[in-house]
Point group: C2
């Protein structure tokens, strides 16, 4: 088991009022006055791939808004193996359970270079009534993401799952997308590392994807869509 620690570098005190993605974060409804009552530090953190935001059963002292990048939530099974149960992207909140429970329930680990802002649990508690609408919305997002993982990434053949993953990694309009380690692809899709690897190879051979740099891919959206829907991978 690889040792993953919080390697986050301190990035700077967040100026939430001017946050570029504020419309989609927890503080969307707050006024300037509300901000002035927040005296606890809200930090911006940069997470390199592989670094953990938190570990299961750890004290849930904060929650984290994802601003850029991708976070995996994984849980451990009885036999010591693990499974990725959800992915969190920009606008999502990691560790929402901090608002209702004393401990985290997953390991939250960056899959890509990721920027988050850390909001102490006490800030949420204090602003609770004002944040309620947004909190509900974030819970709703969590549920949707999780159901998406079952529906898209844990259903059908390995080929279909990988195709759907490539489509989820970035909007169709985006030129390139960044993939993560084959181990994580496997743990996410519920297949082995080897199968994940073989499938990626196969997609490259069929020109459904093209690797423009290490783990940076261009995509044939229509082709991937066809694979994702029907199981038709015949040449």
């Amino acid at each position: 088991m690889r040792e993953t620690e919080i390697q986050a570098a301190w990035y700077g005190l967040a100026t939430c009022e001017k946050c570029a993605i504020r419309h989609l974060v927890l503080f969307a409804d707050l006024t300037s006055e509300d901000f002035s009552t927040v005296h606890l530090p809200i930090e911006d953190l940069w997470l390199p791939p592989g670094s953990a935001l938190y570990q299961p059963d750890q004290d849930a002292s904060a929650l984290f808004t994802v601003r850029e990048g991708l976070i995996k939530l994984e849980q451990y099974l009885a036999d010591g193996s693990h499974r990725i149960v959800s992915l969190l992207g920009p606008g999502d909140v990691a560790g929402l359970e901090a608002s209702v429970s004393p401990h985290y329930e997953h390991a939250a680990i960056a899959l890509l270079p990721t920027k988050v802002c850390r909001i102490p649990r006490d800030v949420v508690t204090r602003l609770s009534p004002k944040l309620n609408r947004q909190l509900m919305g974030k819970w709703h997002d969590m549920v949707r993401r999780s159901h998406q993982c079952v529906r898209e990434l844990s259903t059908g053949s390995a080929r279909q799952r990988l195709a759907r993953l490539f489509l989820l990694l970035a909007p169709a309009s985006t030129e390139h997308c960044r993939l993560f380690g084959r181990d994580d692809v496997g743990a996410l899709l519920g297949i082995t590392t080897e199968t994940a690897c073989r499938m990626v190879s196969d997609f490259k051979k069929r020109r459904l994807i093209g690797e423009v740099a290490t783990n940076i891919f261009s995509r044939d959206i229509a082709g991937l869509q066809a694979i994702a829907d029907g199981d038709d991978g015949a040449l």
Copy 2:
């Protein structure tokens, strides 16, 4: 596609204050006074297996506390097939999205004879501040259930998944448990109906389960646990 309609029979106006499972439902924190402000009807419904509480995109006019039985939440895929993304049991709330969104996102269908109480969306809206703690808790439950579905029911071999399902169907202390149609077992575990069927047969042959009546099973908890953890099904 089978036509499933709301066949729920009206059961009686719920007397929430005296509800036997009130400690685990949405109204746990309310006072007598609060109840007196609720003038909209809260109905108790009995759902026979196969009947739908709601369908996707339907107007989300109420949410439903499950009191007895089991509800499946399913979503449809591009190719017309469907996948069960979560199970809801006693204490869980179906259609929580009604509190934040105008439409339902799943089909919610009873797998077993099921008793629910229907709480109009307006009741929740009106009592909103008082229900907040409980609502958060229910969202949290939804997320946990959904992650459980990935972790336990969509991971490992078909044999492991089925073993875990039998363990989830009822507490270990419960003598018997009730299973549902093989189609639904398949859609839940992400395997085909035939495989689900063969596995159930196999479990019976190995005496891991015993069918005391149609779809009522006794269980060898320890045996099932062994299958669920290691993949060791060797004779």
